[in-house]
Subunit: 211 residues, 2 copies
């Protein structure tokens, strides 16, 4: 993305990492290159956003040749799609044993905070292969967990329209999470625990009566 990132003379050229002198020669087979590439990509995305990921850079970090990642992910979109699918899977398990809707919301926000790279990619459809099967199933799974949490709220608490209540809850959690990880609330939240702040926020939704 940024050709002159490291100044006029870049540190490394292409090719598999030269290996520090004397070190054991890197084996031909990496062992778990797929995981290594994913991990490196998540680091980059968390630090500089999805547009900063470069397959060649990830290959360098993993110490393999520039075309090796393609064998596991096909192309850049394939890599990001795999990350999104993994993210929806992680989100689904995070919501797995949520108590009530409030708890699910807190978990949603915590997920975004603990997996900001996944979160960013999951909701950036223009970066993903829309018709990917793994992605679709993982997304459906997570969506089901969310819907279950909403429908568990008694009708007198959330109003007559369950669909509207779901949109409201999702919007609040998603908006808070998004603003949080994009550092747009740094001034407002300060040093407070984001979980507690969001917990307080949820107290303003679905209030049938005053104390």
């Amino acid at each position: 993305m940024n050709p002159a990132k490291a100044g006029p003379a870049s540190e490394k050229t292409d090719g598999p990492a030269p290996e520090k002198a004397g070190g054991p020669a890197r084996p031909y087979h990496h062992g778990d290159l797929r995981r290594a590439i994913l991990g490196a990509a998540l680091d980059v995305i968390a630090a500089e956003g999805p547009s900063a990921v470069s397959l060649r850079d990830l290959a360098r970090r993993a110490g393999v040749s520039h075309a090796a990642p393609a064998h596991h992910f096909k192309d850049r979109v394939g890599l990001l799609t795999a990350i999104a699918a993994e993210g929806f899977g992680l989100l689904a398990t995070a919501l797995d044993d949520a108590g009530d809707l409030r708890d699910a919301g807190v978990r949603y926000v915590r997920f975004a905070r603990e997996h900001p790279a996944h979160f960013q990619v999951m909701f950036a459809p223009e970066l993903l292969r829309a018709n990917d099967l793994e992605l679709a199933t993982a997304r459906t799974l997570a969506g089901g967990r969310l819907r279950a949490a909403v429908s568990a709220v008694p009708a007198e608490g959330r109003g007559p329209d369950a669909r509207l209540a779901g949109i409201a809850a999702w919007s609040l959690a998603h908006g808070f999470a998004t603003l949080l990880i994009s550092h747009n609330l740094d001034g407002q939240v300060g040093g407070q625990d984001p979980d507690e702040v969001f917990h307080a926020l949820t107290g303003m939704l679905f209030r049938p009566e005053q104390p």
Copy 2:
């Protein structure tokens, strides 16, 4: 961004657009290249996201040489920063004569829907020059409008903590807007008017008593 976008043989090479045969020769000075580049960039972002903007592609669309945009925006980050600054300016004027907080929220969402490209870039800090002056002032202006709308709500309606109420309102509007323009609510909202849906959503926040 995508080298093989148009298949093996790309339609145009570099250089200023060849000009259809017989047409008047393009003048050396474009006239309003800055605006032309901005417009083309907004089109691309709305259609394919910020990571799809290419300075060279924008230059081709405007019919100028590949380095012409740099004279107006310095670099890619400069272009996106200009878009974000313009966006915050537009948002500020959109919120200018908002009635109450509810109205401000509806305007916020409408802004996102009418200027999706601006909106995406405004809240993607890793794409922007953080210390840009124009951006900072425009953002401050828009932020002030938002804060004013929140503080106009009477205390018995929003609870004791105005700061929390502001975060809640912003999160709800921002989350709804974000999910909307990323087409994550296409299934839920259906053909309904998003303005009305969001208006209904706001009815679930800050309810001191039941009817």
